[in-house]
Every structure is written in C-alpha cells, then in structure tokens.
Subunit: 471 residues, 2 copies
C-alpha cells in the first residue's frame, strides 16, 4: 500500500486522459494495463489519481473491464476515495457481486452523499437484511428519504426518482427566488425546473429555468408559472413515465404520491436508461433470452436460457408428431423429407417479420382500432403476395431439381398457404397476448414458429399425399 | 368550409381534452369521431379549436390515426393554422405522402418559424427540386441556416441540430448576461446551457442554467464557465452523439463544424428519438425487416421484406441439399425424417439467443478484448452444458417414443454437437461482421440459422447413418 514517489511514472509515462478510450470507443487496453500495474503494486495514490478524474460512467466502464478480483481490490484500495456512483453504471451482476464482498459499513459510507436515485439503485440490489443494516448507519434525513423511495415498487417512478428538488411558494418573486438559490447551500446538483407548491406540497405550477432566467426580478412566481402540469404518480411504471418524457419532450417531471404531494423528480438521464432497458428487454424477449447481461456467470446464463429451450423442445417434439403422421407418405417419396424444411423455414421467417413489426407497434402504442384493422389487412395481403412470389420461385427450383413439375406445384401450394398463415399468426398472436395483458414480446416467437412449422409440414406433406395418392 | 355558430356543439358536446386518449393511452375513438364529424362538415373553426391546443406529439398521433384523405383534408382546412411541427412526430411514410399533396408554397409558409431541427426534419424528405423551391420562398436567414443543416450527411449531428443557441463572450458578467436574456426577443424556445465563445465562434466553455442562476450578478462569465468541454462534430453520426449523451447524462451539447465554430446544439429530446430509432433498427434488422413502419403501404412492405425472404429461400434450398445427401439413409429409416427438425430447431434457437446477446453488447460497445474472450468461453461452455441437458432430454423422449435406445443416443449426440456449434456461431458471426465493419444486426440471424440447420441435419443424419450402418 506504499506509494513510492521515486518510481512514480514521469510525465512521459503519465496516463493521458484522452487515451482512456481507443479508436473503437472502448476502454483502451494500454490505459487498463497501467491501472492493473498500479493495482498489482498496491499503489493506492496512483490508482486514485487515475480514477478520481473519471466521470462515473467511464469509471463504471473501467470496472466492467476488470476481472472480479481486480474490481474488488480497486474498491478496497481506494476506500473512501472510491466514487460509489460508478456502481450505478455497471451491469447488475457486477454490482451485486461487489456488494456481496464489501462490508455494510463501507457501503453505508459510500452511498452517503450520493444523489438519492443513485443510492437507491445501489441499495435495491442488497438482501433485505444487509439493506436494513446499511440504512441504519445513514444520517436520519437520508435514511428516511431512501426508505421512502425503496418502499415504492421495483421499476416504478418512485424507485427511480431523485428526492432533492427546488420547491418555492407562489407568493415569492423572481428576485426572492434567485436570492434563495444563491444562498441556500443544500440544493440538488442539477435541476431544470422549479416547482411551485402550496403548504401541503401539492404542485401548483412549474417554471423551466430558461423562462425563469428571462423574467424580471419583480415578476411574481404565480404569474410566471406554467399550470399545464405533467406529473407522474410515484407508483406508476417507469415505462409509462418514459412514454410521457418521449412524447412531450420533457427534461424533468415531478413525482407525486397518493395524496398528490411532491415527493421527488425524474430527470431525462434516468429516463434515457429506462428507454434503453425497455428496448433491450424487447429484443432479448423476442430471442428468448431473459434479463441477461454479458457479465452474467455461465451458470446464471444456462439457468436463464434453459426454460426457453425447454419450451422450444416441447413444441419441436409436437411438430415432429405432425411429421410422424405422414411417415408412410415420406417412405414412398423421400424427396418430400428433403424439401419439407424449406416450406417451414420460409413460414417461420415471414411470420417473424410480421410479428416483430407488430410487437414494436404495440410497444409504442401505435395500434388503435382503425390502424389495427388496416395492419391486419395489410399483413394478410403481404402474406398472399409473398406466398405467390415464393411459390413460383420454389416451384421452379423444385421442378428443375427433381424434374417433376407436379412436385413443384405441390410445394408452391404449400408455400402460399404457409405464408398467408405466417402473416396472420404474426399479427394475431402478439395482439392476442396484448389483449390478455401478457407482454407480447415474451412468447410470440415460440407460438408463431410452432404454427408456421406445423402448418408448413402439414400442408406440404398433406397436399403431396393427396396429389400423388400416397395415403 | 362555412362555420355555423348555431350548430356548434354546446359545452356538453365539447371535447374534453382529458379524453384525447383512452385508458390504453391510445387516441380515443370518441375524440376521433368528433374530429371526423367536423372534417366531414367542413367546420374549419371547430377543427382548429380542437387541434390547436394539442401538443405537437398528440397532433402527430391524431394525424396517424386518420386516413390519408382525412389527413390531407385536415391540413388543407386549417391552412396557416396547422402547426407543421406535428409532421415531425409522424412516420416518414405519412409525412412524405402528405408533402407530396401539398403545394410547395404552403410547405414554405408552414416551416417558416419552426425550430430549425423540425424544419430540417420536414424538408429532408422532399425531392431535391421541391426542396429547393421551398427554400427559395423562405426568409434569407432561415434559408441559409436550413441549407447549412441540409448540407450535412443524413443521420449526422449536423442534420439533427437546432441552429438557435445562446452564445456570449467570456468578458461579460452574469448580470450583463441576464440583462441580455431579459431584453433580447430572438432567443431559442428552450435552452439548458449558455455557450461562451470567442470572436471566431469557437467554444471556450459552457454554463448550465442551474449553475448560472446561482451565481452573483458581478461574477465574470469566464470564472463561471465549465471548460471540460463535450462537443460533437457536425459530421459525426447521430448514433455516436447519442452514446455521448447517454454515457455522460447530457441534456444539451454544442455542435461544431470543421473549423471548430459553434454551428448548433443537439438537445436530449432529439437524442431520445435517436436512441429509440437505433434500438428499433436493431430489433427490425434481427428479424429481417428493413426500415419499415406500420403506416407503410402493402407494396412498400412486400418490397422491403422480399429480399430477406429470398436470402432465406436460398439458404433453405442449400440446407435441403444437405438433407438430399442422406435420402438413401432416410428411405431406410423414416423416423430420421420425423426427428431431424428437432435438432435443427433447437440449434437455431440456442444460436439466436447467443447472437442476440452479442449483437446488443456490440451495439453498446461493451466488448473489449478481455470481455470478448470471456464471453466466447462462456458461450461455448453454455453451449456444451445446454447440449448435455437437452441431449439427455431428447434422448429419453426418443427412446420412449420409438422404443429404440440407440436412436436416443444418436439424436443426443447430434444435439450436443449442434448446441456447441450454435453457441460458437452465435458469437463469432456477429463479431466477424463487426470486424468487417458491417452492422452485426443485419445478416447474423440468417448466417446463424443456416449454420445450425446445416450442422443439425448433417450431424443427426450422418451419425445415424454411421451408427446403424445405413450408408
């Protein structure tokens, strides 16, 4: 833990802060090697010197680039000089792993003085017991405000909110407010609007800073405030709050509790994270991967993926029973076995295309009655059009390959049927799940491909059996 | 076009603005019916009365809920009372369709006075000829600033930026600046920071409004400004700019041209749209749907999807040739044809899982050298683990179903091989595409499923042929 000034790197070896990231925008390997050398040598002051100037987001990226033991060594070595807000910028699995190793007293010191939303983001991952212990070691005011945030449901606006904000009475003037802002030491780090509240802390209006700045000192707050309020309920899901932000181009919004009291604010930086998470969630659910990060362990990854693969195994076995119905047919004409996956695969792809568009439109709340009817019609027509196009293509290919025009007609017919079914299933399945209040991203893919596989094999083998009299 | 005050709806028929959206957060059918009634009756003043109070985002949603002819009728009926910023909130296809029908003179009047970023968003979709005609009808200053934005590449920071901003010299004081803000009428509608520039308009520093508000009048701007600058190059891709916003929790950033002159600002509301678009693009590319909206016509939809389906047809036919190699084997043992899609389907799903996680990690720039190696190892181990789990499951199912333990062993072996291949292909394919500077979201899915299908069929039929001596 000694720092030897004699062997400290000179300016030529000094780490250029510009070189934190390489040309690809990833943390530079060179920068990391330096950091590792300091860590290995136990040179705490040097580690502090390179870590402290970093923005929390960059520090978080550095932590993620380190191994688990290196991360822990770094946090321990820096002690009180470690900025815990970096922990809000790492994957959940990295955070949980670190917190498990750190004493609760360190965590309590680390979260003291953080923005309340950052502190909550760190504490919400702790086990109940550890969380209570950490909370009990915090100053009273902080403890109470964090406890209140933690009492709101996970992924709610109340969990995400920042509990520091600027609230003033309507009878003040702009001048009084400016004087208050200039003298009051205990203000939020960043704010974009001022809240005008009554004695019960109910919001009467808001004033964006740019409007406020342009008002004369004598102007009354009441005359300046915007009363066309957008407020978010603390129990509301963060995704709904995000939709308000996006729709109305908000930068900050007040969060109110059941009795309409202002309890906190949500700012756009939190919402950007939510937007990202929700889009990410949709992508991953569509692919049958749960809430998974690249930092997850192998065991966690297997555990999260197996359920989806089990579902797929069950449906694949079910589909194989459909093929089993036609084993006699296949035995008489083995080229059917060679061709059958083509029809199924095209249906699966076309169905996935339609389903993806539908799932996204549902997520964006773009489908009202008329547009829904229009979309269903469009997708069925698209299915028919694609069906005809690909029936002709595969029909010709099959005719040439097997020198059998009749086999070409059979596979063409099966293709038309399956692509119409694919379009219809691709839109109706997510919509039905949505109506049943299930997340349409979750299970749509499995249902759609099961249907297109089943219909694909059944139509092709069935038509072939009838056409060639093989039953 | 007459407005008859006698038949105007009374307060009980008045449209409650709270009822614009239904419980599902979609535009309320009741509200739309009212609007349609006004449109059909040609009651322009009533249409204006319900449309004018709407936020541009809500007006955009209303436009999207109308049919194409109704939309055009509404815009024509409102004339100069129509707020063109609503057009920035609709799908591109809706916007283009409308602009095609409207005279250029109307468009020129409509975009005059809009924020420059909104005007650019509307003009960039016009044909070159129409665009020039509209520009020629704009006031000189607006024309020049829009032309400059339009000269930057599509999807660049320069295209997205707003060209109004507040720039002051470093030798001013806070008091002078406030006086300037209070008296200058021509300021941007909304701003979050003040730019300090030299005579050549090069940025010396920035001051966020909250910091500015809390400074005393006599404070010099130079002493107050933040010189740790984050600036965006106007030619930079909007996606890169979005990454800066996300990483550093920015709300506004200055945009500079080649000579480092401040030419505009990007604000978080534009960036939120970018984040959304980019995530949406990834989802759609993974599913083989291009840049498609639910408002696209049937013909456009078919045109955008056919190329992907053609690629899939080619790979599906190629895969069927692999099956064709084993037609003799299948002929001797038709249960192989019944079982073979199970191995391929499990491989396709497992590969898609890995691929999706990799594509997202690449999009977030999360994969540096070490983490990449760690992820590759993890995915291969996960593939092996899943392979063993599902080999046992499908082996038992097959044994029971066909009363043939040997067939169970064969399908189990094929499953292990295919799931390891799936994990490896799922990670290596997107990474290779990324290294080749291609978007890994585009073609990964096709490559991965082609490989898992090929290996799935080949391993199962090949092992079966060897095991049972069917060659």
């Amino acid at each position: 833990m000694s720092t030897d000034t004699e062997t400290a790197p000179g300016p030529e070896a000094g780490i250029d802060p510009d070189a934190l990231r390489d040309a690809e925008d990833r943390i530079s390997p060179l920068w990391l090697e330096r950091l590792r050398a300091y860590l290995d040598a136990g040179r705490a002051d040097d580690v502090a010197a390179v870590m402290e100037p970093l923005h929390a987001a960059d520090a978080g990226d550095v932590l993620e680039s380190l191994d688990a033991e290196e991360r822990l060594a770094l946090v321990r070595m820096l002690g009180d000089r470690f900025d815990y807000s970096a922990l809000t910028e790492v994957d959940e699995s990295v955070r949980v792993e670190l917190m498990d190793e750190l004493p609760n007293a360190d965590i309590a010191r680390g979260v003291t003085g953080l923005d309340s939303d950052d502190a909550v983001a760190i504490l919400e991952d702790l086990e109940q017991e550890d969380r209570d212990e950490v909370l009990s070691q915090l100053p009273t005011f902080e403890r109470l405000s964090l406890k209140r945030s933690l009492d709101f449901p996970e992924e709610s606006a109340g969990r995400r909110m920042q509990t520091d904000f600027i609230a003033i009475p309507p009878f003040w003037t702009v001048g009084q407010t400016i004087d208050y802002l200039r003298t009051e030491p205990d203000l939020p780090d960043e704010f974009y609007q001022i809240y005008v509240v009554d004695a019960a802390y109910q919001v009467l209006g808001t004033i964006p800073l740019d409007k406020f700045l342009r008002a004369k000192r004598a102007t009354s707050i009441e005359s300046l405030m915007n009363t066309n309020l957008v407020l978010v309920d603390a129990n509301e899901d963060q995704e709904e709050a995000a939709r308000d932000f996006e729709r109305y181009d908000l930068v900050e919004v007040g969060v109110v509790d059941e009795s309409k009291r202002l309890v906190g604010v949500l700012t756009i930086d939190d919402i950007v994270d939510v937007i990202h998470e929700e889009a990410d969630e949709d992508i991953k659910l569509l692919a049958g991967v749960g809430d998974e990060d690249i930092s997850d362990t192998t065991v966690d990854t297997v555990r999260s993926r197996v359920p989806w693969l089990v579902v797929n195994l069950v449906t694949a076995v079910a589909v194989s029973f459909v093929i089993g119905l036609f084993d006699g047919t296949i035995e008489q004409m083995v080229s059917l076995a060679v061709l059958m996956p083509i029809v199924a695969s095209m249906g699966g792809n076309a169905g996935t295309q339609t389903m993806t568009v539908t799932v996204r439109a549902l997520a964006m709340r773009e489908l009202d009655g008329r547009r829904l009817r229009r979309l269903i019609t469009r997708e069925m027509v698209v299915g028919l059009a694609n069906g005809v196009i690909f029936a002709v293509l595969i029909g010709l290919v099959t005719w040439l390959r097997f020198a059998d025009p009749q086999l070409g007609v059979v596979i063409g017919l099966a293709m038309v049927i399956n692509l119409i079914v694919a379009g219809t299933a691709g839109i109706l399945i997510p919509i039905t799940l949505d109506k049943l209040k299930a997340d349409p991203a979750i299970a749509s893919a499995v249902f759609v491909t099961t249907i297109t596989d089943t219909i694909g094999f059944f139509a092709f083998l069935g038509i072939a059996g009838l056409w060639f009299g093989l039953f």
